[in-house]
């Protein structure tokens, strides 16, 4: 932070001095305010970055930079041969954070794990409705209430989950932020004091940073957790400076007011890369944008019609126009960084003549259709309207007339899942747990028709493959099944797969140790600032 002008320099001299004198403070210019601090209640990454990652831990966590679940609060685990019983041995002596508002008297036990999970799945748990309108959206979305028969304490350091059916992605699901482990002792103390809602406002966990305070919509402060069971963080203080506008975040980064920022404007990335004070990390995001045909309506019920339309979409033009190159065209419904990605699948190459011919062969003439464009910018599709216009233009060249439609976001999500929806809907998905099941079965399985399966596509062959993979615990076996499922998907073409966007993280050059997460999380326990 350097001010050239005398007056301003004098004005801010004191802040300089305190910068120099203070311990290592890492400032993250976050993109928005957390909705709360209880990760079980929410689904937004912004909220998890401020709660689940700094303050809490989970039984398993994703190895930094990967989507591989590894031991965290659980030291080890066993799975019964039928895949329905999971027994976790907890790490001994894990301390909860000591704060101004809570002093723990005991270390982590199975009671904390049972409390953290049971409140989300059991309607009779006194914490199931601890604030009005509590909705455990992620637990419900991942099917936990139907999947988990019981979660029980075996002894102080052993906990047992009994499932209603085998579920291969279960371990990965437990590594997700919503499954963070909270302190039951803290919850009990809040209950006694009649301040249950504080659980969502002033968090206490076992994570690398202790929550200090939150000034709404402005700043969140954390301090290194001196009692952390894992490798101690290298920074002393972690500050989230909430800065909603990407252009302003960039200015703050340039001025040295923050060390790292998420979600830059695509247009700024070039100048960021040429700034000698900054460095830019990039990685393919765990996401996909797609255009889902309604496969129950003619003529989109014919795979050859869908294939023909796919051949008329210039994905490269979409990636260039919408992302300025910060994305890659997609050929599969899962991103290339995900295990079981089938690179042998051949994409429908952009070929207008071939598309025209295929349509004529299928007996389709004078086709008019609607293309739905989301009204909001999402990480997987920054400007849906622009993408829809490119598609409209291309389709016009093969004689297909396109009307672009859009609705308010909640309305869009609601209407686009209707079975009798008219037209092809653009949407996308960001992976939750790095498991292919989270894309293939969640978005394209027969159970998801009328819900997440916007193509209303129920293909027996595909569904059997993904359902089999879901209950198979051997990863090599699962990989084969998913690879096969991707071949079926490409042949049947329920979607036009559009792009996988890149995740770009600009930071000051003095930042070291930051590991980009394929899941898009921002975690700072390994970062350091070199002078």
């Amino acid at each position: 932070m350097k001010y050239k002008f005398g007056f301003a320099a004098a004005l801010l001299a004191a802040s300089f001095l305190s910068t120099a004198a203070s311990a290592k403070t890492f400032v993250f210019c976050s993109e928005g305010s957390p909705e709360g601090f209880d990760p079980g209640l929410y689904t937004a990454g912004t909220t998890f970055d401020a709660s689940a990652h700094p303050v809490y831990n989970r039984l398993l966590e994703f190895e930094p930079g990967t989507t591989k679940p590894v031991a965290a609060l659980a030291e080890s685990w066993t799975v019964s041969p039928d895949g329905k019983e999971y027994v976790f041995k907890l790490r001994k002596g894990v301390k909860f954070q000591t704060t101004d508002f809570f002093k723990p008297t005991r270390t982590l036990t199975a009671d904390d794990v049972v409390f953290s999970i049971d409140r989300q799945i059991n309607k009779n748990n006194p914490w199931n409705q601890y604030v009005p309108g509590t909705s455990w959206e992620y637990a419900a979305g991942m099917g936990f209430p139907e999947l988990i028969k019981s979660v029980e304490k075996v002894d102080d350091l052993t906990v047992k989950f009994v499932l209603n059916r085998p579920e291969a992605p279960f371990l990965a699901n437990l590594a997700m932020p919503f499954a963070s482990i909270m302190s039951k002792e803290y919850a009990d103390s809040l209950d006694k004091a009649g301040k249950k809602e504080q659980l969502n406002q002033m968090p206490v966990g076992t994570g690398p940073f202790t929550f200090i305070g939150y000034q709404q919509d402005a700043v969140i402060r954390y301090q290194k957790n001196a009692d952390y069971w894992g490798k101690a963080p290298k920074i002393d203080d972690l500050v989230f400076a909430i800065t909603t506008d990407a252009a302003v975040r960039y200015q703050k980064l340039k001025a040295g007011e923050c060390h790292l920022m998420p979600y830059p404007n695509a247009a700024d990335v070039k100048s960021m890369k040429s700034d000698s004070n900054l460095k830019v990390m990039e990685q393919e995001g765990l996401n996909v944008a797609y255009l889902a045909y309604n496969t129950t309506q003619a003529p989109f019920d014919k795979p050859e019609v869908r294939k023909a339309l796919n051949k008329a979409i210039n994905k490269k033009a979409i990636v260039d126009a919408v992302f300025q190159g910060m994305a890659t065209p997609a050929k599969n419904p899962i991103p290339p960084t995900m295990w079981s990605y089938n690179d042998k699948v051949e994409d429908d190459t952009y070929d207008l003549d071939a598309a025209k011919k295929m349509l004529a062969d299928a007996g389709v003439k004078d086709l008019s259709m609607k293309v739905w464009a989301m009204p909001v910018s999402r990480p997987y599709m920054l400007n849906a309207r622009r993408a829809a216009e490119i598609i409209q233009d291309d389709f016009a060249k093969i004689g297909v007339k396109v009307e672009i439609v859009s609705y308010e976001w909640a309305e869009y999500l609601q209407r686009s899942k209707a079975k009798d929806r008219d037209g092809a809907a653009m949407l996308g998905w960001t992976g939750d747990n790095g498991d292919p099941d989270n894309f293939l079965d969640t978005l394209l399985g027969c159970d998801a028709v009328g819900g997440n399966n916007r193509a209303q596509w129920c293909n027996k062959e595909f569904d059997e493959l993904v359902k089999k993979a879901k209950v198979t615990s051997d990863q090599a076996e699962r990989t084969k099944l998913y690879e096969q499922a991707q071949v079926v998907f490409k042949r049947e073409a329920p979607w036009a797969t559009l792009d996988h966007s890149l995740s770009i993280v600009p930071m000051r050059k003095e930042v070291t140790g930051f590991v980009q997460s394929p899941l898009g999380d921002f975690t700072f326990e390994n970062v350091d600032i070199t002078e």
């Binding site: 932070m1 001010y3 002008f5 007056f7 301003a8 004098a10 004005l11 801010l12 001299a13 004191a14 802040s15 001095l17 305190s18 910068t19 203070s22 403070t25 400032v27 928005g32 709360g36 209640l41 689904t43 604030v131 009005p132 309108g133 909705s135 959206e137 419900a140 979305g141 809602e197 969502n200 406002q201 305070g213 000034q215 709404q216 919509d217 402005a218 700043v219 500050v239 400076a241 909430i242 800065t243 909603t244 506008d245 302003v248 200015q251 703050k252 340039k254 001025a255 007011e257 308010e408 909640a410 309305e411 999500l413 609601q414 899942k417 998905w429 960001t430 998801a448 819900g451 997440n452």
Partner: protein
């Protein structure tokens, strides 16, 4: 004067109820569903949707919801946010001082620069000074706030590095808010440099927020002054041999102030609306940003509670302006 005040207060009650109905009904007329938005792209089953709607009371007839809401408001309970689950009043009280601080500084800049600028332009009517001042005022009035804010940030914070980019105070200072007003809290904290840091953070957002009101006040002052300066009593004052300064400051300005005060009062409402953009660009944690976020999330209780509280404050400000108006011009009271 007391009767006048009572009459004005009596008008506030139906206005307040009217605002509460509008705030309540309009947000529900917008398409969108707060419950569906909770799950985003992840689809919520119809049963679950119904269950959460029932928990939030959104499944009841609109009139029942409204009466329940109004009953709560009369007891000081504005409800809780659907998203953050915290009471509206608590959030409002935490954020409102930031907006007041910013608006106060902005209105101060607008008045201190706008009135003299308008007076000078009126006195020098038709001159190059008049034309350039009114030209600048027109540009200021038409300025797209978001673009203007970003431009100032790039110039003063990015290139010249005179001011910080955004926020209310350097992150190095950390103290518990006492009043919520950063300038006062920084002084109370006793931390060296905290106050000057708070001032430096206030400069750019205040200028940006002041831009439009400044232009309006300058133009209004000019036209009011021109009207007054052509009155007979001004000619008489001049004929009596009073100094031009006395004529303008004592005789003309006081009379010209009546429409200007009305304009300033109206600008406070404009400022709260303008603060939405200024707060967003300068990451200023005020009620404008809070309301916008809530509209996107269809957080009904926050939008209706926030609107009602803001409307209540504007009504009180207008009442104060009316009273001031009455003090300056006693004929108004009747």
């Amino acid at each position: 004067m007391f009767g006048f005040l009572l009459r004005r207060l009596a008008v506030l009650i139906p206005t307040f109820i009217g605002v509460s109905i509008i705030a309540f009904a309009f947000i529900r007329l917008l398409p969108g569903d707060p419950v569906a938005l909770l799950s985003g792209e992840r689809v919520m089953s119809p049963e679950r949707h119904a269950q959460i709607s029932a928990q939030l009371g959104l499944d009841r007839p609109m009139i029942v919801q409204y009466l329940d809401y109004l009953g709560g408001v009369l007891q000081g309970d504005f409800g809780s946010s659907i998203v953050s689950k915290t009471p509206i009043l608590t959030q409002f009280m935490a954020l409102f001082p930031a907006t007041v601080e910013l608006s106060f500084c902005a209105i101060l800049i607008a008045v201190v620069i706008g009135i003299p600028a308008g007076v000078i332009a009126a006195i020098k009517r038709g001159s190059a000074i008049d034309q350039s001042m009114m030209g600048i005022a027109l540009v200021g009035y038409s300025m797209p706030i978001f673009w203007w804010g970003l431009l100032l940030i790039i110039l003063f914070s990015g290139i010249l590095q005179w001011t910080p980019v955004s926020g209310r105070i350097s992150l190095m200072y950390f103290f518990k808010p006492v009043t919520g007003f950063m300038l006062i809290d920084a002084l109370l904290s006793g931390q060296k440099g905290a106050f000057s840091s708070a001032v430096s953070h206030l400069i750019l957002p205040s200028i940006v927020l002041a831009t439009i009101p400044l232009a309006v006040i300058a133009r209004q002052t000019r036209s009011a002054m021109l009207e007054v300066l052509s009155e007979d009593y001004i000619r008489t004052a001049r004929a009596k041999g009073l100094s031009p300064f006395r004529v303008v400051s004592l005789h003309a300005l006081r009379n010209a102030m009546i429409p200007v005060i009305t304009t300033i009062g109206l600008q406070i409402g404009v400022m709260l609306a303008g603060a939405i953009l200024t707060e967003t660009i300068f990451s200023w944690p005020g009620i404008g940003k809070w309301m916008v976020d809530s509209v996107f999330r269809r957080d009904y209780p926050v939008i209706q509670g926030g609107l009602l509280l803001i409307a209540g404050i504007i009504m009180v400000v207008n009442l104060i302006v009316d009273v001031l108006y009455g003090l300056i011009n006693p004929r108004i009271r009747h």
